[in-house]
Amino acid sequence: MTKPKLVIVGNGMAPGRMLEFLFDNSPDTFDVTIFNAEPRVNYNRLMLSPVLSGEKCYDDIITHGNDWYAQHNVTLHKGAKVSMIDRAAKTVTSENGLTAAYDKLVVATGSNPFIIPLPGKELDGVLTYRDLEDVEKMLDAAQRGGRAVVIGGGLLGLEAAAGLKMQGMDVTLLHLMPTLMERQLDPAAGHLLAEEFKRRGIDVLLKANSHEILDDGTGRVGAVRLDDGTKITANIVVMAVGIRPATTLAQATGLEVNRGIVVGDDMRTSDPDIFALGECVEHRGTCYGLVAPLYDMAEVLADNLAGGHSAYTGSITATKLKVTGVDLYSAGDFAEGDDREEIVLRDAAAGVYKRLVLKEDRIVGAVLYGETADGPWFFDLLKKRADVSEMRDTLIFGQAYQGGAPLDPTAAVAALPDDAEICGCNGVCKGKITKTITEKGLTSLDGVRAHTKASASCGTCTGLVEQLMQLTLGDAYNPAAVQPMCGCTQLGHDDVRRLIKSKGLKTIPDVMQQLEWSSSGGCAKCRPALNYYLVSDWPDEYADDYQSRFINERAHANIQKDGTYSVVPRMWGGMTSSTELRAIADVVDKFEIPAVKVTGGQRIDMLGIRKEDLPAVWADLGKAGFVSGHAYAKGLRTVKTCVGTNWCRFGTQDSTGLGVRIEKFMWGSWTPAKVKMAVSGCPRNCAEATCKDVGVVCVDGGFEIHFAGAAGLDIKGTEVLGLVKTEDEALEHIVAVVQMYREQGHYLERIYKWARRIGYDEVRRQIVDDAGRRAAYFDRFVFSQKFAQVDPWSERVSGKDKHEFNPLAIVSAEAAE
């Protein structure tokens, strides 16, 4: 028997959810075909902001990958925009000529960003914020730098502005109204928010009425002019001023359309075989712009398609701003009215603002800024229309203050009723989560996400879900799915790195304060890690914390088992000369250095030097032109080379020259763990390039670049990054991949472990396929080298850190008696 055909127009979040309900409850009911104007699978649109800010990448936000469609026998036409619905023939046809017949049709076209009809709106560089293409265009612009003007001070505009700022652009945010998010916040709270954005270096202009967008002379955006004549230069303009339901197709089809496509409580349009779903819908006069109501609709529609009789009766919405470091929660309705009262709590010092709007002793709206933990509790009271007159006096202080002493956070969650909503995006209530944890024996957050969807969308309720797991599982719950950095914090390396960037933390005490370190001054594990992260993230602003470095990096030599030190000067690419060798011989004699050894890294080690002698040893070596070899550093160590075309009968390129060039370009840079490289002149590979952190194997046509090898504690051959033609390209690729590692690696994690963690393909995608990104990594490396490429030995010969090399005092026998 052939199954009835279900066709869906649009592959957004709403139909994605609807199909999950359908497949879960009534599998094999339909043959499903989806047309998607976007050329891809289904992803979590909410998470575009973290992608924009760099906190996530596209792969992280895919909700249904190719295998999901295969598994459910769904035909997905990617990049196929439906241009016609033939209701008589019951077919749909796409712009690229695909036709499909339907028994039931779901229109889920979402909405379109509203474009203000300003002169200049069609210029190159005027962008909207709706889909992945928009984000890619913004990221692309961010790489070129300059200024972004974001028009619109609502949720989307704020997220766009914060993200572009984090990507390094100068940002001006224009908002027509006197305060930001005026529909949710009163002027005082709007002010707090504006101040926070200004603190992040974003220019916020209120009451700013855009007048026109000016051409830079080449058909691209050059500036924005306001009504009052102010001109703001702009490399891009992002319009985030609102959305309109996408109804063109439905209108052309002759369905009933108002502001959105009109549906009844059963989600049916004016044609009984055609349903509509999502942001394109108008239900009882309301169009929605948040996912939670759309998911309610999805559930109803899934049931009705499978023959049920569910009804959708409307939703109340709550939302959170997804800008890391800004806590803002708002739910319900804030319009003023004679029959409404307000309760407001302000704590300017702590940056906290809370506002409840009450009507007839019931909460109808809630805004929380700075501290949002009680959001779900207020939202629960609001949805249940609970009478709050009894607790009116203490209501604003939150749930913990109702009856007796303040409760600890898990107790507050414990006190929530089973039907309290925990995850607003997916409409998951507490009872469902605790029940699923017990029934399925779940022990990890990922497991809970997979089985309940709780915290799987925007992720802001993750904390609540974790508390529920704690509550349900007790000691069996081990949140250390992420390994904490050390005993001083719960946070893992990734979180710490992300928060340093997003909160703009610039000193070790600042990090420990803001991220709530549990020890007073850190430990020998976290301090060197934090010091590296700060050096890497703020090369021009952060002053290296010397006392947080391991002794080798403080003394710029390697400590030996007897407390003496070894000294290894650079020999660029392994090349040396009679003058250099003579200078080394002289130093060895003069300071009676007990051992001289050729290292495994093609240079010479002098071992057994007294600490007091180090500056004098370096002074002599410096006169011969030597600089530190950083044999002690979490930084660039050696670039081994072979003789290449200079001498070897098989050499295909100047491998020695390239090795020397790389070492001279990159020496001095700090990295999460040591970095060793090599360049071999032909595939015979005499420099052993295929077991290095980064290696090059020269071939006739160019340079094969390798990465992620290991030959120490682990042995692992490299992966091929790519093949390039010129030395310049080789250098750019190598520098870019190292910079990517510098920005993402965990302290003490070698390149091969980092690359395995994030995926070799991801590295290739960013470094090889994406020229813009590669150039940006390269530029950031070059910038940081301005501050890093100073020879530490000559600095110390000139007197820096003198105390390090001399005793504080020498106490004679008499004094001690």
């Binding site: 001054g521 002794i551 504080l808 004094a815 001690a816």
Partner: protein, 115 residues
């Protein structure tokens, strides 16, 4: 013996020791590591780790502890006892700061001098 009538030896200014750092005082018998914490407390321990002789003065100072640079044993600066799972201790020399000068207890130094 009570601390009040001890003999103290001045070994240098507090500011000569970096915060969260250490300097070495050489005596005839061996070296003493003098530590300064983030909140300007000073402590003095023999500069020899009981594990394999690592120079504790070269370790990272955190809180009132130091981590040995050779194999990461951690010692309490006040008691000289190893923390955590490791067992061992280093001799403590009493230390104090007066008028910006670091003073070490002479009799402890003398004891350090007697093997």
């Amino acid at each position: 013996m009570n601390a009040e009538n001890r003999n103290w030896v001045a070994v240098g200014a507090l500011d000569d020791i970096p915060r969260q750092g250490a300097r070495v005082v050489k005596t005839l018998a061996g070296c003493i590591a003098v530590f300064r914490t983030a909140d300007d407390e000073v402590y003095a321990l023999d500069d020899r780790c009981p594990h394999k002789g690592g120079p504790l003065s070269q370790g990272i100072v955190h809180g009132a502890s130091v981590t040995c640079p050779l194999h990461n044993w951690v010692f309490d600066l006040a008691t000289g006892l190893a923390r955590g799972a490791d067992e061992g201790s280093v001799a403590v020399t009493a230390a104090k700061v007066e008028g910006g000068q670091v003073l070490l207890a002479a009799d402890d130094l003398a004891r350090a001098a007697r093997p």
